[in-house]
Subunit: 343 residues, 2 copies
């Protein structure tokens, strides 16, 4: 066999379709473009600099993130999207000899990362209402919690994460891809200075509207950041390119624009949830830039036939539900109009 | 311990310094900027598109590379620099149960990739003249050959690679980062349609002058490409960002510019090698965009004190040699002037 046993047997993560010509409500992208400062950074970029390798540790971008997050740049690790940051974290923080934990219904990339790096894992079943059963986690050997969780859109209070960190001996990764859209919880970043087992992962793909540039980061104590660097430098010396660094540093500096666009998404989200509930549809409370509603594969297909892409997971417990990204008001009006037609 | 045993024990690859204010001849970057078409692609890029994820399999860029390489797009895998492509290849193509092979003096990232993915390896000693001893390789269980080799700058004929492929049961990776600068050998790409064990890896970092955008690719048979995709999709769904895809697709289309800049580097290389040999300095024949010459750590330090960065490796067999990237004629004149002063 000319390929590895792992490549021949692993079941990769399946990302949402990147089809064109649809109203795309399937991959939780931001319906609004990135900050004008990002556009300016791109237009002003000196292409001749591309002949040189980038900063291996993204020093400029880490400084910009540090300022925005109120932490030290030495407590930040930057990677090629939060997926890469998470993948490297599985290798950097978890071992093959003891199982880590994550929920049974959560970001379905976690079990794939675990298999890639031969990390055993136990999945902890969410409660019937899809809330997180903290008492059923051990937390001792390492865990990954998405907060808010995907695809459920639900969040846990930061105090529960503090209690979990108290019990952790290995790393507790909190994946905050959607945290900027949360009303009922807040970021665990401020806890990372208290708990050296806590690692918070964030992304430029959602609230910053920069999914296409591939950038994510981790905030944690120095020992965890050093481990991330050791694994990164054993994989790819320069995962963040020069354009990406310039664009994201510009975007992260524009707090007003970010706040404004987050609020717009949250306003649209409230309205869509109310409209659906008024129609008798079960929708979860959402702390993310998507909603999780009742709806099966056939509804997904009907939406698709009407040029609207939403996400359906053919998985236990959630195959009767749909995940729908919050688009612009106009896109969601069309979503509701089509829903009324096809339901 | 809050980090993994692997992170605590692995010795990462050390990339060349990215210091500013020096004549940088230490990381084999191109002294010339990328094609004007790359600049145009960057300037014309619609920043609003960055809110959307990129093509997961870099379809547009693969089509552009396919045209330039004269292969089918389905035989191409694209990644975030050839380092990422190589790292993923170790996981996709090699197993933990049998040792792979590479030279004792070659790209020092190979043993690090192997340790990251728990692939055992044997290093095969180069001959005394640093030529590759093909008869001492087994090739049966997988191997990695850099052609031209770094840091030696020497190459092997493509017929030797064909003979090696004949013997391979697992993958034979040919790392052609420097192939565009070779006079004494040629690319093994055309052999990939004959041998389903052969995987050729190339980069945009050297001949294209795009080290700062992070892009590399593999050309191989479908089974190997499928394995690469399976591992990539278990690590990061979208390793190549939208700007990178647009810039590299534009650059790869400009064959005239590429040819011209390669010729300029080769001309400068010939001149510098002649000048050094005229001074009685031992320099290897070079098929790369760098030269490998006698010179120890103290010479490296003297160059640095004169604002010229070259590369010295504190490693067995090569600690009495320096690797010097070929810069512009003006940079190499300064290199020679300083050399005459400090030697």
């Amino acid at each position: 066999m000319n390929v590895s046993k792992k490549a021949a047997s692993i079941v990769p993560y399946t990302a949402g379709e990147q089809a064109e010509g649809y109203i795309k409500l399937n991959t939780n992208e931001n319906p609004y473009p990135p900050s004008p400062r990002a556009a300016e950074a791109l237009r002003g970029f000196d292409v001749d600099k591309l002949r040189l390798y980038p900063s291996p540790d993204s020093a400029g971008l880490r400084a910009a993130i540090a300022k925005a997050e109120g932490v030290d740049a030495d407590n930040i690790f930057v990677g090629n999207g939060s997926d890469e940051v998470l993948a490297l974290a599985f290798a950097a923080l978890f071992d093959a000899d003891e199982p880590i934990e994550f929920a049974d219904v959560t970001y379905s990339f976690y079990p794939v990362f675990a298999r890639l790096f031969d990390i055993p894992y136990n999945t902890v079943p969410l409660n019937d209402d899809f809330s997180l059963p903290f008492d059923k986690f051990n937390f001792y050997n390492g865990a990954v919690i998405a907060n808010p969780n995907a695809p459920t859109s639900l969040s846990v209070p930061v105090d529960a994460l503090r209690a979990a960190a108290e019990r952790s001996r290995k790393a507790l990764i909190v994946d905050e891809a959607y945290i900027d859209f949360a009303d009922r919880t807040e970021s665990a970043v401020r806890l990372t200075s208290e708990y050296d087992t806590l690692a918070v992962v964030k992304t430029f793909s959602k609230s910053y509207g920069l999914a296409g540039i591939r950038c994510g980061y981790m905030i944690a104590g120095r020992k965890i950041i050093d481990a991330m660097r050791a694994i990164k430098d054993s994989f790819n010396s320069y995962p963040v390119d020069r354009v990406c660094e310039a664009v994201c540093a510009a975007a992260v500096s524009d707090r007003e624009y970010l706040k404004d666009k987050i609020q717009k998404v949250k306003n649209t989200r409230s309205r869509v949830i109310s409209e659906l509930r008024a129609r008798g549809v079960a929708v979860f409370d959402s702390d993310a830039n998507f909603i999780f509603m009742e709806g099966d594969k056939s509804l997904y297909e009907k939406f698709k036939s009407q040029n609207i892409l939403v996400r359906h997971f053919d998985k236990p417990r959630i195959s009767d539900k749909l995940r729908v990204s919050v688009g612009t008001d106009a896109q969601m009006d069309e979503f509701l109009r089509v829903f009324d037609k096809i339901r």
